[in-house]
Protein backbone atom coordinates (compact mmCIF):
# COMPACT_ATOMS: atom_id res chain seq x y z
CA UNK A 1 0.00 0.00 0.00
CA UNK A 2 1.45 3.35 -1.03
CA UNK A 3 1.67 6.10 1.53
CA UNK A 4 -0.46 9.05 0.43
CA UNK A 5 1.60 11.92 -0.94
CA UNK A 6 1.47 15.24 0.91
CA UNK A 7 -0.71 17.91 -0.70
CA UNK A 8 1.38 21.11 -1.05
CA UNK A 9 -1.13 23.38 -2.77
CA UNK A 10 -4.28 23.25 -4.83
CA UNK A 11 -6.39 25.60 -6.90
CA UNK A 12 -9.70 25.28 -8.67
CA UNK A 13 -9.20 25.18 -12.44
CA UNK A 14 -11.88 24.63 -15.10
CA UNK A 15 -14.17 23.06 -12.50
CA UNK A 16 -11.51 20.58 -11.37
CA UNK A 17 -8.42 20.79 -9.17
CA UNK A 18 -4.83 21.64 -9.99
CA UNK A 19 -2.64 20.21 -7.22
CA UNK A 20 1.00 19.84 -6.24
CA UNK A 21 2.10 16.86 -4.14
CA UNK A 22 5.33 15.92 -2.37
CA UNK A 23 6.40 12.41 -1.40
CA UNK A 24 9.38 10.25 -0.53
CA UNK A 25 10.44 8.45 -3.71
CA UNK A 26 12.06 5.02 -3.28
CA UNK A 27 13.33 4.98 -6.88
CA UNK A 28 15.05 8.36 -6.55
CA UNK A 29 15.82 7.92 -2.85
CA UNK A 30 14.76 11.53 -2.32
CA UNK A 31 11.78 13.80 -1.86
CA UNK A 32 9.99 14.41 -5.15
CA UNK A 33 7.20 16.76 -6.21
CA UNK A 34 4.63 16.22 -8.91
CA UNK A 35 1.53 18.05 -10.13
CA UNK A 36 -1.87 16.57 -10.91
CA UNK A 37 -4.90 18.00 -12.63
CA UNK A 38 -8.12 16.23 -11.71
CA UNK A 39 -11.00 17.03 -14.08
CA UNK A 40 -14.55 17.57 -12.79
CA UNK A 41 -15.42 14.00 -13.85
CA UNK A 42 -13.07 12.70 -11.13
CA UNK A 43 -15.56 13.90 -8.51
CA UNK A 44 -17.89 11.13 -9.66
CA UNK A 45 -15.73 8.25 -10.86
CA UNK A 46 -12.18 7.17 -11.59
CA UNK A 47 -10.72 8.73 -14.72
CA UNK A 48 -7.91 7.86 -17.15
CA UNK A 49 -4.61 9.75 -16.96
CA UNK A 50 -2.16 11.37 -19.34
CA UNK A 51 1.40 11.40 -18.02
CA UNK A 52 3.27 14.52 -19.14
CA UNK A 53 7.08 14.62 -19.12
CA UNK A 54 8.66 18.08 -19.22
CA UNK A 55 11.85 19.36 -20.82
CA UNK A 56 15.25 20.58 -19.67
CA UNK A 57 15.19 23.04 -16.72
CA UNK A 58 11.46 22.49 -16.09
CA UNK A 59 9.74 21.45 -12.89
CA UNK A 60 6.20 20.11 -12.57
CA UNK A 61 5.03 23.74 -12.69
CA UNK A 62 5.87 24.76 -16.28
CA UNK A 63 3.36 22.58 -18.08
CA UNK A 64 0.80 23.21 -15.34
CA UNK A 65 0.83 26.98 -15.80
CA UNK A 66 1.81 27.44 -19.46
CA UNK A 67 0.18 24.78 -21.64
CA UNK A 68 -3.50 25.53 -21.07
CA UNK A 69 -4.10 21.76 -21.05
CA UNK A 70 -6.60 21.79 -18.19
CA UNK A 71 -9.31 23.21 -20.39
CA UNK A 72 -9.21 20.20 -22.68
CA UNK A 73 -8.60 17.72 -19.85
CA UNK A 74 -11.72 19.06 -18.10
CA UNK A 75 -13.81 18.68 -21.26
CA UNK A 76 -12.51 15.18 -22.00
CA UNK A 77 -12.45 13.86 -18.42
CA UNK A 78 -8.72 13.08 -18.39
CA UNK A 79 -6.40 13.58 -15.41
CA UNK A 80 -2.92 15.04 -16.01
CA UNK A 81 0.02 13.62 -14.02
CA UNK A 82 3.11 15.83 -14.27
CA UNK A 83 6.35 14.75 -12.56
CA UNK A 84 9.39 16.93 -11.97
CA UNK A 85 12.31 16.36 -14.36
CA UNK A 86 14.87 15.09 -11.82
CA UNK A 87 15.58 14.68 -8.13
CA UNK A 88 16.78 17.95 -6.58
CA UNK A 89 18.84 19.17 -3.65
CA UNK A 90 20.79 15.94 -3.14
CA UNK A 91 24.14 17.67 -2.70
CA UNK A 92 25.84 15.56 -5.41
CA UNK A 93 29.00 17.05 -6.93
CA UNK A 94 28.07 18.85 -10.16
CA UNK A 95 24.32 18.47 -9.57
CA UNK A 96 23.51 22.13 -10.22
CA UNK A 97 26.39 23.18 -12.48
CA UNK A 98 24.75 22.71 -15.90
CA UNK A 99 21.30 23.55 -17.22
CA UNK A 100 21.36 20.47 -19.45
CA UNK A 101 22.62 17.92 -16.92
CA UNK A 102 21.80 17.02 -13.31
CA UNK A 103 18.98 18.97 -11.64
CA UNK A 104 16.20 19.60 -14.13
CA UNK A 105 17.76 17.18 -16.61
CA UNK A 106 17.14 13.60 -15.47
CA UNK A 107 16.61 12.36 -19.05
CA UNK A 108 14.11 9.70 -17.94
CA UNK A 109 16.75 6.98 -17.55
CA UNK A 110 18.19 4.84 -14.74
CA UNK A 111 21.68 6.14 -14.02
CA UNK A 112 24.34 3.51 -13.50
CA UNK A 113 27.34 5.76 -12.83
CA UNK A 114 28.47 7.44 -9.61
CA UNK A 115 27.34 9.74 -8.10
CA UNK A 116 24.01 9.57 -9.99
CA UNK A 117 23.19 5.88 -9.57
CA UNK A 118 20.75 5.27 -6.74
CA UNK A 119 19.13 8.68 -7.15
CA UNK A 120 18.74 9.54 -10.83
CA UNK A 121 16.18 6.89 -11.75
CA UNK A 122 13.57 8.99 -13.51
CA UNK A 123 12.89 5.97 -15.75
CA UNK A 124 11.79 3.77 -12.86
CA UNK A 125 10.06 6.68 -11.19
CA UNK A 126 7.94 7.60 -14.20
CA UNK A 127 7.32 4.12 -15.59
CA UNK A 128 6.64 2.33 -12.29
CA UNK A 129 6.70 4.18 -9.00
CA UNK A 130 4.60 7.22 -9.87
CA UNK A 131 1.75 5.38 -11.64
CA UNK A 132 1.50 2.91 -8.73
CA UNK A 133 1.43 5.80 -6.25
CA UNK A 134 -1.18 7.96 -7.96
CA UNK A 135 -3.41 5.05 -8.91
CA UNK A 136 -3.42 3.90 -5.27
CA UNK A 137 -4.15 7.31 -3.80
CA UNK A 138 -6.09 9.38 -6.37
CA UNK A 139 -9.31 8.69 -8.34
CA UNK A 140 -7.52 7.28 -11.40
CA UNK A 141 -8.47 4.21 -13.42
CA UNK A 142 -5.74 1.63 -12.78
CA UNK A 143 -3.67 1.02 -15.88
CA UNK A 144 -5.60 3.36 -18.17
CA UNK A 145 -2.75 5.66 -19.13
CA UNK A 146 -1.25 7.58 -22.01
CA UNK A 147 2.06 9.41 -22.17
CA UNK A 148 3.34 12.59 -23.78
CA UNK A 149 6.05 15.17 -23.25
CA UNK A 150 8.12 18.03 -24.60
CA UNK A 151 11.74 18.12 -25.78
CA UNK A 152 13.70 16.02 -23.23
CA UNK A 153 10.26 14.94 -22.02
CA UNK A 154 9.28 13.99 -25.56
CA UNK A 155 12.32 11.72 -25.56
CA UNK A 156 11.07 10.31 -22.26
CA UNK A 157 7.54 9.75 -23.56
CA UNK A 158 8.69 8.05 -26.77
CA UNK A 159 11.25 5.77 -25.08
CA UNK A 160 9.09 4.75 -22.13
CA UNK A 161 6.09 4.30 -24.41
CA UNK A 162 8.00 2.22 -26.98
CA UNK A 163 9.45 -0.01 -24.25
CA UNK A 164 6.10 -0.53 -22.50
CA UNK A 165 3.28 -0.30 -25.05
CA UNK A 166 1.14 -2.48 -22.76
CA UNK A 167 1.28 0.17 -20.03
CA UNK A 168 0.20 3.11 -22.22
CA UNK A 169 -2.78 3.32 -24.54
CA UNK A 170 -1.16 6.00 -26.71
CA UNK A 171 2.08 7.95 -27.11
CA UNK A 172 2.79 11.46 -28.36
CA UNK A 173 5.51 14.10 -28.17
CA UNK A 174 6.23 17.76 -28.87
CA UNK A 175 9.64 18.61 -30.34
CA UNK A 176 11.22 15.47 -28.85
CA UNK A 177 14.92 14.69 -28.71
CA UNK A 178 14.52 11.89 -31.25
CA UNK A 179 18.03 10.44 -31.38
CA UNK A 180 19.94 11.31 -28.21
CA UNK A 181 22.89 9.10 -29.18
CA UNK A 182 23.46 11.46 -32.11
CA UNK A 183 23.12 14.88 -30.43
CA UNK A 184 25.18 16.83 -27.92
CA UNK A 185 22.52 16.95 -25.19
CA UNK A 186 22.05 13.20 -25.32
CA UNK A 187 25.72 12.24 -25.55
CA UNK A 188 26.62 14.45 -22.61
CA UNK A 189 23.83 13.07 -20.44
CA UNK A 190 24.22 9.42 -21.45
CA UNK A 191 28.01 9.36 -21.00
CA UNK A 192 27.76 10.77 -17.48
CA UNK A 193 24.65 8.90 -16.33
CA UNK A 194 25.29 5.60 -18.15
CA UNK A 195 29.03 5.39 -18.86
CA UNK A 196 30.43 4.52 -22.26
CA UNK A 197 28.61 1.22 -22.94
CA UNK A 198 26.50 2.15 -25.96
CA UNK A 199 24.35 -0.94 -25.56
CA UNK A 200 22.92 0.82 -22.50
CA UNK A 201 22.46 4.05 -24.43
CA UNK A 202 20.26 2.35 -27.03
CA UNK A 203 17.67 1.52 -24.39
CA UNK A 204 17.01 5.24 -24.12
CA UNK A 205 17.18 6.26 -27.77
CA UNK A 206 13.75 6.66 -29.39
CA UNK A 207 15.06 6.16 -32.92
CA UNK A 208 16.96 2.97 -32.00
CA UNK A 209 13.90 1.61 -30.16
CA UNK A 210 11.52 2.53 -33.00
CA UNK A 211 13.73 0.68 -35.46
CA UNK A 212 14.44 -2.38 -33.32
CA UNK A 213 11.37 -2.65 -31.09
CA UNK A 214 8.42 -1.17 -32.97
CA UNK A 215 5.07 -1.29 -31.22
CA UNK A 216 1.49 -1.14 -32.41
CA UNK A 217 0.79 2.40 -31.23
CA UNK A 218 1.04 5.28 -33.67
CA UNK A 219 3.51 7.88 -32.44
CA UNK A 220 2.02 11.38 -32.81
CA UNK A 221 4.83 13.94 -32.98
CA UNK A 222 4.57 17.70 -33.56
CA UNK A 223 7.70 19.67 -34.45
CA UNK A 224 7.93 23.41 -35.15
CA UNK A 225 9.91 24.38 -38.22
CA UNK A 226 11.30 27.53 -36.52
CA UNK A 227 12.56 25.56 -33.50
CA UNK A 228 16.16 26.67 -32.84
CA UNK A 229 17.13 23.18 -31.60
CA UNK A 230 15.70 21.35 -34.59
CA UNK A 231 18.78 20.69 -36.70
CA UNK A 232 21.35 20.11 -33.96
CA UNK A 233 19.55 18.41 -31.08
CA UNK A 234 16.09 17.11 -32.01
CA UNK A 235 16.68 15.25 -35.30
CA UNK A 236 13.14 14.15 -36.18
CA UNK A 237 14.46 12.85 -39.50
CA UNK A 238 16.24 10.10 -37.55
CA UNK A 239 12.96 8.98 -36.03
CA UNK A 240 11.27 9.18 -39.41
CA UNK A 241 13.97 6.97 -40.95
CA UNK A 242 13.83 4.48 -38.08
CA UNK A 243 10.06 4.16 -38.22
CA UNK A 244 10.09 3.73 -41.99
CA UNK A 245 12.68 0.96 -41.64
CA UNK A 246 10.73 -1.03 -39.05
CA UNK A 247 7.15 -0.24 -39.98
CA UNK A 248 6.58 1.61 -36.70
CA UNK A 249 3.55 3.87 -37.28
CA UNK A 250 4.50 7.55 -37.00
CA UNK A 251 2.51 10.72 -37.58
CA UNK A 252 5.17 13.44 -37.68
CA UNK A 253 3.69 16.88 -38.30
CA UNK A 254 6.02 19.75 -39.14
CA UNK A 255 4.25 22.88 -37.91
CA UNK A 256 5.21 25.88 -40.05
CA UNK A 257 6.98 28.72 -38.24
CA UNK A 258 6.38 27.37 -34.73
CA UNK A 259 9.17 27.67 -32.14
CA UNK A 260 10.24 25.33 -29.31
CA UNK A 261 8.43 26.75 -26.29
CA UNK A 262 5.04 26.56 -24.64
CA UNK A 263 3.32 28.87 -27.16
CA UNK A 264 3.93 25.95 -29.54
CA UNK A 265 2.81 23.30 -27.03
CA UNK A 266 -0.32 25.27 -26.11
CA UNK A 267 -1.29 25.58 -29.76
CA UNK A 268 -1.49 21.81 -30.27
CA UNK A 269 -2.03 20.28 -26.81
CA UNK A 270 -5.78 20.15 -27.47
CA UNK A 271 -5.24 17.95 -30.52
CA UNK A 272 -2.91 15.69 -28.54
CA UNK A 273 -5.44 15.34 -25.73
CA UNK A 274 -8.13 14.36 -28.21
CA UNK A 275 -5.72 11.85 -29.78
CA UNK A 276 -5.09 10.30 -26.36
CA UNK A 277 -8.76 10.43 -25.40
CA UNK A 278 -9.64 8.25 -28.39
CA UNK A 279 -7.30 5.55 -27.06
CA UNK A 280 -8.13 6.04 -23.38
CA UNK A 281 -11.87 5.66 -23.98
CA UNK A 282 -11.62 2.32 -25.78
CA UNK A 283 -13.29 -0.49 -23.85
Amino acid sequence: MSQAPELINEARCFGGWQRTYRHASTRCNSTMQFAVYLPPAADQARVPALYWLSGLTCTEENFSVKAGAQRYAAELGIALVIPDTSPRGLGLAGEDDDWDFGSGAGFYLTATEAPWAGHYDMYGYVAEELPALVEATLPLLPGVRSISGHSMGGHGALTIGLKHPERYRSISAFAPICAPMRCAWGRKAFSRYLGEDHARWREYDASWLAEHRPCGHTLLVDQGTADPWLAEQLLPEELERACAASGQPLELRRQLDYEHGYFFVASFIGEHLRFHQAALSEE
Copy 2:
Protein backbone atom coordinates in the same frame (compact mmCIF):
# COMPACT_ATOMS: atom_id res chain seq x y z
CA MET B 1 2.82 59.74 -36.67
CA SER B 2 3.95 57.25 -34.05
CA GLN B 3 7.39 55.74 -34.32
CA ALA B 4 7.08 51.98 -34.74
CA PRO B 5 7.92 50.07 -31.56
CA GLU B 6 10.89 47.71 -31.64
CA LEU B 7 10.02 44.00 -31.93
CA ILE B 8 11.86 42.13 -29.14
CA ASN B 9 10.62 38.60 -29.76
CA GLU B 10 7.80 36.71 -31.42
CA ALA B 11 6.43 33.19 -31.52
CA ARG B 12 3.73 31.48 -33.50
CA CYS B 13 0.71 30.75 -31.31
CA PHE B 14 -2.63 29.27 -32.43
CA GLY B 15 -1.92 30.30 -36.00
CA GLY B 16 -1.21 33.92 -35.04
CA TRP B 17 1.75 35.74 -33.47
CA GLN B 18 2.62 36.40 -29.85
CA ARG B 19 5.00 39.34 -29.76
CA THR B 20 6.84 41.59 -27.31
CA TYR B 21 7.63 45.19 -28.24
CA ARG B 22 9.75 47.93 -26.67
CA HIS B 23 9.34 51.66 -27.23
CA ALA B 24 10.07 55.09 -25.75
CA SER B 25 6.98 56.19 -23.85
CA THR B 26 6.34 59.93 -23.66
CA ARG B 27 3.74 59.56 -20.91
CA CYS B 28 6.09 57.54 -18.69
CA ASN B 29 9.23 59.27 -19.94
CA SER B 30 10.94 55.89 -20.07
CA THR B 31 11.35 52.76 -22.12
CA MET B 32 8.28 50.52 -21.87
CA GLN B 33 7.54 46.97 -23.03
CA PHE B 34 4.21 45.52 -24.03
CA ALA B 35 2.98 42.25 -25.50
CA VAL B 36 0.56 41.77 -28.36
CA TYR B 37 -1.23 38.71 -29.66
CA LEU B 38 -2.31 39.02 -33.29
CA PRO B 39 -4.88 36.39 -34.30
CA PRO B 40 -4.75 34.71 -37.74
CA ALA B 41 -7.50 37.05 -38.95
CA ALA B 42 -5.06 39.98 -38.65
CA ASP B 43 -3.17 38.56 -41.65
CA GLN B 44 -6.12 39.55 -43.82
CA ALA B 45 -7.69 42.64 -42.26
CA ARG B 46 -7.62 44.94 -39.24
CA VAL B 47 -9.05 43.38 -36.08
CA PRO B 48 -10.54 44.71 -32.82
CA ALA B 49 -8.45 44.64 -29.65
CA LEU B 50 -8.88 43.69 -26.01
CA TYR B 51 -6.58 45.62 -23.68
CA TRP B 52 -5.51 43.49 -20.71
CA LEU B 53 -4.20 45.12 -17.53
CA SER B 54 -2.22 42.86 -15.19
CA GLY B 55 -1.92 42.75 -11.42
CA LEU B 56 0.71 43.56 -8.80
CA THR B 57 4.23 42.27 -9.57
CA CYS B 58 3.29 41.25 -13.13
CA THR B 59 4.92 42.25 -16.38
CA GLU B 60 3.43 41.90 -19.86
CA GLU B 61 4.56 38.27 -19.75
CA ASN B 62 2.32 36.78 -17.05
CA PHE B 63 -0.99 37.00 -18.88
CA SER B 64 0.73 36.09 -22.15
CA VAL B 65 2.04 32.77 -20.85
CA LYS B 66 -0.48 31.79 -18.14
CA ALA B 67 -4.02 32.70 -19.20
CA GLY B 68 -4.42 30.59 -22.33
CA ALA B 69 -6.29 33.52 -23.90
CA GLN B 70 -4.72 33.17 -27.34
CA ARG B 71 -6.80 30.14 -28.13
CA TYR B 72 -10.04 32.10 -27.81
CA ALA B 73 -8.59 35.27 -29.34
CA ALA B 74 -7.58 33.23 -32.40
CA GLU B 75 -11.04 31.73 -32.75
CA LEU B 76 -12.80 35.08 -32.29
CA GLY B 77 -10.40 37.22 -34.31
CA ILE B 78 -9.49 39.57 -31.46
CA ALA B 79 -6.02 41.02 -30.80
CA LEU B 80 -4.72 41.17 -27.22
CA VAL B 81 -2.73 44.24 -26.12
CA ILE B 82 -0.92 43.66 -22.82
CA PRO B 83 1.08 46.51 -21.24
CA ASP B 84 3.55 46.18 -18.38
CA THR B 85 2.26 47.31 -14.97
CA SER B 86 4.65 50.25 -14.41
CA PRO B 87 7.78 51.95 -15.71
CA ARG B 88 10.94 50.13 -14.54
CA GLY B 89 14.58 50.85 -13.88
CA LEU B 90 14.20 54.60 -13.41
CA GLY B 91 16.43 54.76 -10.34
CA LEU B 92 13.81 56.56 -8.23
CA ALA B 93 14.23 56.27 -4.45
CA GLY B 94 12.05 53.43 -3.16
CA GLU B 95 11.14 52.25 -6.66
CA ASP B 96 11.96 48.59 -6.01
CA ASP B 97 11.50 48.37 -2.23
CA ASP B 98 7.91 47.07 -2.09
CA TRP B 99 6.06 44.44 -4.08
CA ASP B 100 2.84 46.47 -3.83
CA PHE B 101 4.22 49.89 -4.71
CA GLY B 102 6.55 51.32 -7.39
CA SER B 103 7.88 48.86 -9.99
CA GLY B 104 5.17 46.37 -10.93
CA ALA B 105 2.55 48.43 -9.11
CA GLY B 106 1.69 51.52 -11.18
CA PHE B 107 -2.01 51.33 -10.25
CA TYR B 108 -3.10 52.79 -13.61
CA LEU B 109 -3.12 56.39 -12.35
CA THR B 110 -1.27 59.64 -13.12
CA ALA B 111 1.07 60.29 -10.20
CA THR B 112 1.20 63.87 -8.97
CA GLU B 113 3.75 63.48 -6.17
CA ALA B 114 7.55 63.44 -6.30
CA PRO B 115 9.45 61.42 -7.32
CA TRP B 116 6.72 59.55 -9.23
CA ALA B 117 5.15 62.45 -11.14
CA GLY B 118 6.45 62.66 -14.71
CA HIS B 119 7.09 58.90 -14.90
CA TYR B 120 4.26 56.98 -13.22
CA ASP B 121 1.48 57.84 -15.66
CA MET B 122 0.08 54.39 -16.39
CA TYR B 123 -3.34 55.99 -16.72
CA GLY B 124 -2.30 58.20 -19.64
CA TYR B 125 -0.17 55.41 -21.07
CA VAL B 126 -2.97 52.85 -21.12
CA ALA B 127 -5.88 55.14 -21.95
CA GLU B 128 -4.17 57.27 -24.61
CA GLU B 129 -0.57 56.64 -25.63
CA LEU B 130 -0.62 52.88 -26.09
CA PRO B 131 -3.88 52.69 -28.14
CA ALA B 132 -2.62 55.46 -30.43
CA LEU B 133 0.70 53.69 -30.87
CA VAL B 134 -0.62 50.20 -31.61
CA GLU B 135 -3.45 51.41 -33.83
CA ALA B 136 -0.95 53.41 -35.92
CA THR B 137 1.57 50.59 -36.26
CA LEU B 138 -0.29 47.25 -36.07
CA PRO B 139 -3.28 45.85 -37.99
CA LEU B 140 -5.88 46.96 -35.42
CA LEU B 141 -9.24 48.59 -36.11
CA PRO B 142 -8.98 52.20 -34.87
CA GLY B 143 -11.15 52.80 -31.83
CA VAL B 144 -12.62 49.28 -31.67
CA ARG B 145 -11.44 48.35 -28.19
CA SER B 146 -12.50 46.58 -25.04
CA ILE B 147 -10.72 46.46 -21.69
CA SER B 148 -10.21 43.87 -18.96
CA GLY B 149 -7.72 43.04 -16.25
CA HIS B 150 -6.89 41.16 -13.08
CA SER B 151 -6.63 42.36 -9.48
CA MET B 152 -4.80 45.74 -9.64
CA GLY B 153 -5.42 45.47 -13.40
CA GLY B 154 -9.11 44.83 -12.77
CA HIS B 155 -9.14 48.12 -10.88
CA GLY B 156 -7.43 49.70 -13.91
CA ALA B 157 -9.92 48.23 -16.38
CA LEU B 158 -12.97 49.29 -14.35
CA THR B 159 -11.75 52.84 -13.67
CA ILE B 160 -10.46 53.55 -17.17
CA GLY B 161 -13.55 51.97 -18.70
CA LEU B 162 -15.98 53.88 -16.45
CA LYS B 163 -14.24 57.17 -17.19
CA HIS B 164 -14.11 56.60 -20.96
CA PRO B 165 -17.06 54.42 -22.02
CA GLU B 166 -16.83 55.97 -25.51
CA ARG B 167 -13.33 54.54 -25.94
CA TYR B 168 -14.20 50.95 -24.98
CA ARG B 169 -17.00 48.80 -26.28
CA SER B 170 -17.08 46.64 -23.15
CA ILE B 171 -15.47 46.32 -19.71
CA SER B 172 -14.71 43.30 -17.54
CA ALA B 173 -12.49 42.33 -14.63
CA PHE B 174 -11.20 39.35 -12.67
CA ALA B 175 -10.91 39.75 -8.90
CA PRO B 176 -10.54 43.54 -9.17
CA ILE B 177 -9.57 45.90 -6.36
CA CYS B 178 -13.06 47.37 -6.27
CA ALA B 179 -12.67 50.14 -3.70
CA PRO B 180 -9.00 51.14 -3.38
CA MET B 181 -9.83 54.08 -1.08
CA ARG B 182 -11.02 51.50 1.46
CA CYS B 183 -8.22 48.91 1.33
CA ALA B 184 -4.58 48.91 2.39
CA TRP B 185 -3.13 48.36 -1.10
CA GLY B 186 -5.07 51.32 -2.49
CA ARG B 187 -4.49 53.69 0.42
CA LYS B 188 -0.75 53.03 0.38
CA ALA B 189 -0.48 53.58 -3.38
CA PHE B 190 -2.82 56.57 -3.59
CA SER B 191 -1.23 58.44 -0.68
CA ARG B 192 2.25 58.11 -2.17
CA TYR B 193 1.35 58.62 -5.84
CA LEU B 194 -1.43 61.23 -5.35
CA GLY B 195 -0.89 62.86 -1.97
CA GLU B 196 -3.65 63.28 0.59
CA ASP B 197 -6.28 65.08 -1.52
CA HIS B 198 -9.08 62.48 -1.57
CA ALA B 199 -10.84 64.29 -4.42
CA ARG B 200 -7.99 63.00 -6.57
CA TRP B 201 -8.29 59.51 -5.13
CA ARG B 202 -11.95 59.24 -6.18
CA GLU B 203 -10.97 59.52 -9.83
CA TYR B 204 -9.29 56.13 -9.48
CA ASP B 205 -11.82 54.32 -7.30
CA ALA B 206 -14.11 52.00 -9.28
CA SER B 207 -16.83 52.02 -6.62
CA TRP B 208 -16.89 55.83 -6.38
CA LEU B 209 -16.96 56.13 -10.18
CA ALA B 210 -19.69 53.49 -10.56
CA GLU B 211 -21.84 55.36 -8.05
CA HIS B 212 -21.19 58.89 -9.34
CA ARG B 213 -20.48 58.36 -13.04
CA PRO B 214 -22.34 55.26 -14.18
CA CYS B 215 -22.05 54.35 -17.84
CA GLY B 216 -24.15 52.30 -20.21
CA HIS B 217 -21.80 49.30 -20.37
CA THR B 218 -22.46 46.29 -18.17
CA LEU B 219 -19.44 45.53 -15.98
CA LEU B 220 -18.70 41.78 -16.07
CA VAL B 221 -16.77 40.82 -12.93
CA ASP B 222 -15.65 37.35 -11.82
CA GLN B 223 -14.49 36.83 -8.24
CA GLY B 224 -13.32 33.55 -6.67
CA THR B 225 -14.79 32.76 -3.27
CA ALA B 226 -11.52 31.20 -2.03
CA ASP B 227 -9.47 34.27 -2.99
CA PRO B 228 -7.24 35.10 -0.01
CA TRP B 229 -7.45 38.86 -0.77
CA LEU B 230 -11.23 38.95 -1.04
CA ALA B 231 -12.26 40.29 2.36
CA GLU B 232 -9.38 42.70 3.02
CA GLN B 233 -8.34 44.13 -0.34
CA LEU B 234 -10.84 43.43 -3.13
CA LEU B 235 -14.22 44.36 -1.57
CA PRO B 236 -16.60 43.47 -4.43
CA GLU B 237 -19.52 44.23 -2.09
CA GLU B 238 -18.55 47.92 -2.31
CA LEU B 239 -18.84 47.81 -6.10
CA GLU B 240 -22.13 45.95 -5.81
CA ARG B 241 -23.53 48.60 -3.44
CA ALA B 242 -22.29 51.46 -5.64
CA CYS B 243 -23.79 49.99 -8.81
CA ALA B 244 -27.11 49.33 -7.09
CA ALA B 245 -27.19 52.95 -5.87
CA SER B 246 -26.59 54.47 -9.30
CA GLY B 247 -28.16 51.94 -11.60
CA GLN B 248 -24.79 51.04 -13.13
CA PRO B 249 -25.27 47.60 -14.74
CA LEU B 250 -23.07 44.97 -13.06
CA GLU B 251 -22.79 41.22 -13.56
CA LEU B 252 -20.80 40.08 -10.54
CA ARG B 253 -20.25 36.33 -10.51
CA ARG B 254 -18.91 34.69 -7.35
CA GLN B 255 -17.07 31.59 -8.53
CA LEU B 256 -17.19 28.88 -5.88
CA ASP B 257 -13.82 27.76 -4.47
CA TYR B 258 -11.70 29.63 -7.04
CA GLU B 259 -8.50 31.35 -5.87
CA HIS B 260 -6.85 34.59 -7.00
CA GLY B 261 -4.29 33.43 -9.56
CA TYR B 262 -4.12 32.54 -13.21
CA PHE B 263 -5.74 29.11 -12.79
CA PHE B 264 -8.84 31.18 -11.96
CA VAL B 265 -8.30 33.64 -14.83
CA ALA B 266 -7.67 30.83 -17.33
CA SER B 267 -10.90 29.10 -16.29
CA PHE B 268 -13.08 32.06 -17.28
CA ILE B 269 -11.07 34.09 -19.82
CA GLY B 270 -12.90 32.35 -22.66
CA GLU B 271 -16.25 33.60 -21.36
CA HIS B 272 -14.85 37.11 -21.01
CA LEU B 273 -13.50 37.06 -24.56
CA ARG B 274 -16.89 35.98 -25.89
CA PHE B 275 -18.52 38.77 -23.83
CA HIS B 276 -16.16 41.32 -25.37
CA GLN B 277 -16.51 39.83 -28.85
CA ALA B 278 -20.28 40.47 -28.77
CA ALA B 279 -19.61 44.19 -28.21
CA LEU B 280 -16.60 44.41 -30.54
CA SER B 281 -18.49 42.88 -33.46
CA GLU B 282 -21.42 45.36 -33.34
CA GLU B 283 -21.60 47.54 -36.44
